[in-house]
Symmetry: C2
Subunit: 444 residues, 2 copies
């Protein structure tokens, strides 16, 4: 075995490392034999030289094995999770997990918190009074088995090497590196004990990946590496130019997700949920294809089965399940500032990044991982790109605790996120691409 410094030099020189070498790098980091500055140098070398799929599988495996791998073998069925690379207004998981579970596919979901302009599922769920996102691995497995789904936060036991490496990448300009992103995402997801995974790779102004080519490269790498790691993996590329749905915030996003389970909700949010849910049902082996899956998903909403699963999951996680039927129980800040259209025309742009950052500025998100969020504040987009508006019509509403100078400043930022044109030149499209093991040439 080469020394740790030789492994840094080998990657620097463009060599592929063996799986035992990558395992040793990660293990040495966890043991303290490889210093953070050595890992940082290796990560920068990886930024320049890349990792091939075999190395990325090895890194994923080493990171997931740095902690506990959840055992869901006692849960019957093909366990399927969904992961989104993060966007603005992306509350899909909250509706999707109960919906897919109601169709017979177990969904063990470990989610994250918001950081920067993107929100996090955990913050949104915690807007439900009493809801606990921390629970033991055993309780998690039990709830998945009994209810069909459970949504928790990453514990200290899951992939600690990933947390350590991600913290280093964040401060060493090595975040934007596809194999490192792939290993980080997959190590956490594979540690959940899943059999299959659907990935929602967001593309656009409000996403981590701003352009389609790079997003496609990430999606393909995720599918190839996940497949090599023995999982069934499909990825969708979906647009993130404007916020998904209407609500951006915590309580108001959870309200909107629960609206979906009651048969309502914005059309684009429903479509995104149906697209991802159909993939999960097919991977989970309960639907023969997209049409069959969409039929089952629609039925689960119409029958109230999905809402019943949501209630059981919320109750099992300590939350007030009455919010599913009575969404007004989710407290939203009492004061509304209306952002009005300055003239007649068509909404050309409702900039997800600008709106996401405005939400962070009002306290709905965080700029540092240790900040608390205000669950009650938020923004709703009342006129999405493509909508015709007349002067004075609401473009957005800003929900604040008091009408003050700070609130007016937020409303100004939200107003600036919109642009109104004469005619809409391009109709927004949600689904930009679909990648599965077959389309990447990965071994199925």
């Amino acid at each position: 075995m080469r020394t740790l410094v030789e492994l840094i030099a080998a990657k620097r020189d463009g060599e592929a490392l063996t799986a035992p070498e990558i395992a040793e790098l990660v293990a040495a980091l966890v043991r303290g034999d490889l210093a953070d500055y050595q890992m940082a140098a290796w990560l920068m070398a990886v930024y320049f030289r890349g990792l091939d799929d075999a190395e990325t599988v090895a890194l994923t495996d080493a990171m997931l094995r740095s902690g506990r791998v959840l055992d869901l073998s006692a849960v019957r069925g093909i366990k399927v999770d969904k992961h989104s690379t993060g966007g603005v207004g992306d509350k899909v998981s909250i509706a999707l997990a109960p919906l897919v579970a109601a169709c017979g596919v177990p969904v063990p979901m470990v989610s994250g918190r918001g950081l920067g302009h993107t929100g996090g599922t955990l913050d949104k769920l915690e807007a439900i009074p009493g809801f606990r996102t921390q629970m033991s691995a055993d309780d998690f497995a039990r709830v998945v088995g009994e209810v069909g789904c459970c949504m928790i936060g990453q514990t200290a036991e899951i992939a600690p090497a990933d947390r350590r490496i991600y913290a280093l990448r964040d401060v060493t300009a090595t975040v934007e590196c596809i194999p490192l992103i792939v290993a980080s995402i997959l190590s956490k997801k594979l540690a959940e004990g899943i059999d299959a995974l659907v990935l929602d790779v967001k593309v656009g102004r409000g996403a981590f990946m701003k352009d389609l080519a790079r997003a496609r490269a990430l999606a393909e790498a995720l599918v190839r590496v996940g497949t090599r790691a023995g999982k069934r993996v499909t990825a969708l590329l979906t647009a993130m130019e404007a916020p998904l749905g209407a609500a951006v915030g915590n309580a108001i996003e959870t309200r909107e997700a629960l609206d979906l389970l009651a048969g309502g909700g914005p059309a684009d949010l429903l479509e995104c949920t149906m697209l991802l849910g159909a993939e999960m049902l097919v991977l989970g082996g309960v639907a023969r294809g997209e049409a069959d899956a969409r039929g089952r998903l629609g039925e689960a909403i119409a029958s109230g089965a999905a809402a019943r699963v949501a209630e059981r999951m919320i109750a099992a996680q300590g939350g007030d399940a009455r919010v599913v039927a009575d969404r007004a129980r989710l407290e939203v800040a009492p004061v509304q500032l209306v952002v009005e259209a300055p003239r007649n025309g068509v909404v050309e742009r409702a900039d997800a990044l600008a709106i996401g950052l405005a939400a962070v500025a009002m306290g709905a998100g965080r700029t540092r991982a240790d900040q608390a969020v205000d669950h009650a504040v938020g923004i709703t987009v009342e006129a999405k790109p493509g909508a015709a508006v007349t002067r004075g019509q609401p473009l957005a509403r800003v929900y604040v605790r008091a009408r003050d100078a700070a609130a007016e400043a937020i409303a100004g930022r939200v107003a600036a996120a919109f642009s109104i044109g004469e005619v809409c030149t391009t109709h927004p499209v949600l689904l930009l691409g679909r990648i599965d093991a077959h389309s990447t040439g990965a071994p199925g």
Copy 2:
């Protein structure tokens, strides 16, 4: 000003940083605002993207300003130092500094210790009883002024950022990067308060640079950057395939250097010393050209003036100055093992790297910076490449404290460093190239 992470990302993306940005990176490291892992990532980005000359000047300047810059303005004359990139048997400095000082050029010299297969001037000097290589900056300036030369070790005050960065490079596979090597060498040398610098860039098996093209690139970068930093700089490229001179060790190398000042010593060692000394005398403004300079250097040896300066320097630094006239006072290990020629022929190779590593293995050098060395042990090369030998004639002698299995093993390693051929195909050449500000196109 961009954030520190943005500066890492900028270098990662191939941008040139401004001088204030580089100064801030180094200052932030010293202050503790830039973590070691962030500097390590930046160094690896530099490994891939390089630094242009302006950036290298800025890095040199920032590192030298991280500590004290010695003020030698009270010393009359153009202060000139010599730096070697390191080789085996390279004891040139010990003869050169007094020799050049005897010709009227002040030589303030800050040297290093041996590490790996290369020896260090400080270890060799400390073979002189009582010799102190640590002294205050004020005492150093006083000795340079009174004696004409002084040879000390790097103090904690000199370029602390370089020490910190070098330690990181050593364990992150970022040592072999020309702009970082240039900034490291020049920051320490410029902090000495010199006006001019002669560089001896060693090339070959026993050198840091194994091939001529890379050594030339380093020499050119050193001259360009040193010239841009306002110093008069010349570099020689010299061969390091076999040890320089005969002796490899500490006391025996100091003996050999002092032999030179007494008019003796091996021819290649004398030639290397004369080449470097001539450059120093020309840069120091006391000789009109190489021929004039060589005449002055020869005269300073023949007259005993150089030996008298050596005695005064040793005395001023607490050492026993009698060693200059009576070199047997330098204790050499009592037991000699003779390595004999296995057959008649011509020495083709006396591998400097193998002999240097054998010397380290017997305790003359160190593999870790915190190891002590044994000044008395060593090796002498009795037949250099090109020499005709008959079977049984000594190729080398190994000086050990006792004839034991370890000593026999060292002798075996030394024997293996030699190869004997039928005829010598190439005659060894010492001087491989010369670079000055004119030849690099640097602004004079």
